[in-house]
Amino acid sequence: MKKRRLKAAWDWFDDRIGFSECMMPYIAHTVPRDARWWYVFGSATLTAFIVQVATGICLAMAYVPGGDEAYESLRYITEEAQFGSLVRGMHAYGASAMVTLVVIHLMQVYLHATYKYPRELNWMTGVVLFFVVLGMAFTGQLLRWDANGVWSVFVATEMASRTPYIGPMISHFLLGGETVGGSTLTRFFAYHVFIMPGIIFAGVGLHLFLLFRHGVSEMPDPNQPVDPATYKEQYEKRLKETGVPFWPNAMWRDVVFSTLVVGIIVGCAAIFGPPALDASPDPASIHADPMPDWYFWWYFAVLSLLPPSYELWFILGVPIFGFLVLFCLPLFSNKGHRAPSKRPWAVGIIVAALASFVVLTIYGYREPWSPDFGVEELPTNVIGAEEGPVFEGGKLVHSKGCMYCHDINGYGGHRGPDLSNIGQQLTREDLIIRINNGGYNMPSFASSLNSEELSKIVDFLMTRIEDKGGSSKN
């Protein structure tokens, strides 16, 4: 009885709103049988976005986008508010998940050349969405508005200012003035909370509409190159013969994978908590060590390793040229083979991109180009003397900053060459010339060392001879 009433109520609602009539054909549209686990990354990206919207709205209920208040309100969310740490953690890990998944989705689509006819616009809307997601990631880390967040604004501003002619205008637009101040954070807040999510909503809508319009692509087959003249007809024919309804035959995999994604996001948030806040956003506090979130470490590394003369091309070229190349890709290549086995260049590009990403990310994390400000003094047993010029020289290499950049027996930074065996590599005279005059990337120390100090440092350095079986801390 109760059941029948419920059914009657649903029928009434369904008739008026048209779920079975208008929505079901989409949900249950025929998809290729072989669309299996390869295809779960797009829907998982959308799931991660839903996590971001839900947690983001919650955070916005307590977050205050103001000079001092932003940092204080985040501390409140993290340390005091019920579930605050969990929600902020979900937003942070959700961001990582979304960036990771959107990249995997993009690589999969590229590898399978799904961007070819008739799905060119699917790809192009996807590329726009990809860049907006990166923009969300960047503005999101900035909204933490700790020291790192404030200095991220400076870095963004400086990068924008390299644009020829209109650079300073873009910078002042970003800052909302000529310096970081009260009008800066509110602007980034509006980008992160209104403008970019708006573009994502619209973009995802269009992206999904195009997905339904052109159908889910088949797994690439080396015997079925895309020919725009016959593709649609053949696709329809094959689909009629072997296709399955999207719901539930294909969609269950998306649901399983999305469950895993959300589980990992919530799990990480609960176990590890949100990323720690850096020092307060006082621009007068210079003891900040600005560092982007992990997904941009590779770019951070690129900016350090490049010769300065190429720099402009990378600062402006990577975002602009990268976007244009990706965006226009299907306009140049929209037919022919889709199978990776027939497209060795595509496979090569993916492998090279992944390898560069991993290597540069490790470099970006280790920052070997940065002076190591926290370097320890050399212990007496490493210096090898307890008094006299060698001992004093061993102290001076620390206090005069040599060790910020040079490694000595496992102590010190990595900006410059290792000095553990320098006593065998350079003569006394060479060392004096080198320290006084500096050299490639090494400052001249002539004005900051007196001759006595210099002589002690050289005395010490001449004792740096590696014995093959020696003990060095590593």
Partner: protein, 179 residues
């Protein structure tokens, strides 16, 4: 069918009218769009064209600064918003060269704007981001920075050291500005 000429007349008229209606609606939609968007565009772009009137800010007594020493000073932006909080502050490295002369360096590295630190022992400014290094006079000693550290104007008035506020120093490539 038995269409009369007057029928045709009517339909032709309707078509004319319809194309007029299309054009009118398109045009008015454009007007509505412009009326809604233009004030907002002006509001959002205004900071680009706003010229801030820079001010002299007092840092402290001349005697507070040792000759030859480089210290961190901070001062307030020329026209801070009431809600700016700590972000209304800017920092500089102030170096007392001799009895009379002071130099104030911007703390922004000329590479990508990170805060450089003064390291006492080797007398160098070092940047924690990409390894930029500068001598005590602000010239580049190593790493990627393309230009020396920017300087603020400093003056001594009535025994006080004063600094002239300025925009964030931007490292530019090609500009309209000839200087």
């Amino acid at each position: 069918m038995n269409q009369t000429p007057s029928d045709k007349q009517c339909c032709k008229e309707t078509e004319d009218r319809r194309s007029f209606q299309v054009r009118l609606s398109m045009f008015l939609s454009g007007v509505i769009g412009a009326l809604i968007v233009l004030p907002g565009v002006g509001f959002v772009l205004a900071p680009i064209f706003k010229k801030t009137k820079q001010k002299w800010r007092t840092l402290g007594r001349v005697d507070d600064y040792q000759e030859g020493a480089t210290v961190l000073v901070s001062f307030e932006d020329p026209s801070p918003e009431k809600w700016a909080g700590v972000t209304a502050k800017t920092a500089a490295w102030l170096r007392r060269v001799d009895k009379e002369k002071f130099i104030a360096f911007s703390i922004n590295c000329r590479h990508l704007g990170c805060p450089v630190r003064w390291v006492e022992g080797p007398e160098l400014f070092m940047c924690p981001c990409h390894g930029g290094v500068y001598y005590k006079d602000g010239t580049v000693a190593g790493g990627p920075p393309p230009e020396p550290l920017d300087r603020y104007q400093v003056r001594v008035r009535d025994g006080n050291v004063e600094i002239h506020t300025a925009a964030v120093p931007l490292t530019t490539t090609l500009t309209f500005d000839e200087s």
